[in-house]
Amino acid sequence: MLHFARWKVVAIFVVVFAAALAVLPNFFSKSTVESWPSWLPARQIVLGLDLQGGAYLLYEVDRADYVQKRMRTLTSEVRRALLEEPRIGYTGLGTQGQAVQLRLRDPSQIELARTRLTPLQNPLNNTLLGGSAVNEFDLSIGDDGLVRFSYSQQGLTQRVRQIVDQSTEVIARRIDQLGTVEPSIQRQGEDRILVEAPGLGDPQRLKELVGQTAQMTFHLVDTTVATSQAEAARKPNTLILPSAEDPNVSYVVEESALLTGEDLADAQAAFDHQTNEPIVSFRLNTSGARTFGTVTTQNIGRPFAIVLDEKVISAPVIRSAITGGSGQISGGFSIEQANDLAILLRAGSLPAKLDIVEERTIGPGLGADSIRAGAIASVIGTALVCVFMVAVYGVFGWIANIAVIVNVLLVFAVVTLLGATLSLPGIAGIVLTVGTAVDSNVLIYERIREEARAGRSAISSIDIGFQRALGTILDANLTTLIAAVTLFYLGSGPIRGFAVTHAIGVLTTMFTAFTFTRLVVALWVRWRRPTKITL
């Protein structure tokens, strides 16, 4: 037990030295570390949101809202398909939950209807699974002429999957524009997106930017009816939309949009030359510019509405034909609002509404306080343990203390190298490691004392003490490790942060007990050649 091959001695010190080197960058600022020669490690510990402040936002695709909207577009697609020449007569077209249905007037047109409506089932290519194509909708046409499109379970699942993917991209583009450091945007489960943005000063703005659908459309305003009348008359093919600025004002607009966000090529925040008011100037792509040119030429004198997420931002009157494909939106914005709208328009709209189902935002002040508190607690905790160990075990107490410090060093090194996130519960895990790292030394020392009391010589008690204690240490730490690993896999948030450092701590504890402590004791024995153990 006390004999070490030379290469093992070297290996143990190399590991400890490498750990010290890996931890080193954490003591310097990021810019200092970047100026170092490239052979020095530069990786720093990633601090959790609770330590550096930031926002943790869990979004979920609003399925009900999505299905409702999709049913609306499907209904108009069906209507358009049936109105093609030769027309197919129908009654009772409408949505029922997750289905659209209608009845054909003339059952003899069933086959014609089938050929026209089949494409609307919308085959989704299922490249991920490599299997056969899945239809978004199941279509059934009864002999009595009852036609029914219903969402297939698989189709909906896959649509939601696509929505999550697209949304993730859109959110990434939006956050990118904010210039936040290292945001993380990931899919979670089937229909969720987790956004983590560390070190953010204003989480409120992030929320507004990420959560907005930002579906922008241009509609002609129907000036032939007053809003109140339209509501009563339910004029077909029109929508009544509220104003974004004043909820008491609303507009009657044509249902079909002239342009959508897809037609935009660029959007920038700017100032109006005359009024100096913040505005958003936009540029349309070629086809958008063509459409816009035609519409504005034909409708001079009529207002059109610029609609964002079903609210009218502004409804300017067309004064002249706009053929250049660019324009501006003014809506009484603040500079920041204009900026954010430009970002939203550039990044594109979300394919569905996202709801926040979990939100945790931590201000930078609290994070700094937590770091300070965690550091103070760690230092005081370690100091108390060290003093106690020396009081109980004398010289061997010092050896244990060196082992504990090596242990903490190793934990920090592994956390740094793995790129794991250090959170406040993580610091708790390290402090607990200090407490239990001592345990392995205590086990060894108590065993050595027992052997010495049983009348063995100093060297032999140390030797046998280590031998017997190491088996116990292995068993005891493996059970703890099992608990920590299950915690890691099944836990979330704070539990995970704790489990990571605790599990690493258990491993490093075993490493130091089996190698470092044993080596230091062996070196001490070789140096002092004790005949009597005073433990």
């Binding site: 609770d50 709801d355 979990e358 201000g363 508190a373 905790g381 106690f388 519960p425 099944l490 005073t534």
Partner: protein, 314 residues
Amino acid sequence: MFRLRLVPDNTRIPFMGYRRWTLPISAILSVLAIVLFITPGPNFGIDFLGGTIVEVATKDGSDADLASIRSTLSGLQLGDVQVQTFGTPNDVLIRIGQQEGGEAAQLAAVDKVRAALGGTLEERRVETVGPRVSGELAWNGGLALVVTLAAIMVYVWFRFEWQFAVGAIIATLHDVIITLGFFVVTGLEFNLSSLAAILTIVGYSLNDTVVVYDRIRETLRKYKKLPLSELIDAAINDTLARTTTTGFTTILALGALYVFGGEVIRSFTAAMIFGVVIGTWSSIFIAAPILIYFGLRQDALKGDKAEAAEKKGA
């Protein structure tokens, strides 16, 4: 040379003689803890109930005026709202219950609170957990507990005789149950961190139990004739110095965390400190005597004979 000893050398405490008292005490406490956990139940945090907490601090560092905050918030019609200081007198924790109307209503409520308090108070932390997520967190947490216990039982079974696995699991369950009772009695918030604390207590308690078991197994092989209860007493006394020293150092480290580690993890550390004490108790007074009741001796001897026979054969 002076050496601090928590336990004098050659301590011989007849632990197993106390089992007539200690086992019933633990049983009664466990039943009591279960009853308390069901009703009135612990002070569940937003992780499991859903809802919002907002931590604010006064901008100028003066003491917060709880009464005025309460009256401001009660005007907002947000249902169940609790206001209390958090750590320091200028730090305030506001708890808002689950709002009717799902996540959107919840976020709207938080915005209202922000607007109402924004003047003199600075927002430090906001956490909102929706009803769907809170349900999942509770389920996953319970699952983590069960899986951890099962995994550990399998490990102990694998390494020792089956009686040890049973003893370890009963002792661990005892610790979990009593700690749940601790949460009810102290009124500490029960949240995800509390669950982490409980699972760590499981780890610690088992660590302790395994050390004692390891020694019992060793003693069992050494003294084949000694009555089981005396043998267990010897094993516990032999490891007592280690048990107390380790428990004490762990409590020193956790104590520092409790006092200096900040309010956010205080309930976590409080539970851990309690868990170290209860875990030590259960290793000595539950895990060990259970071996007697499950007839360890005969099985162990048989096992040894079988082993010996195998060796002969080989």
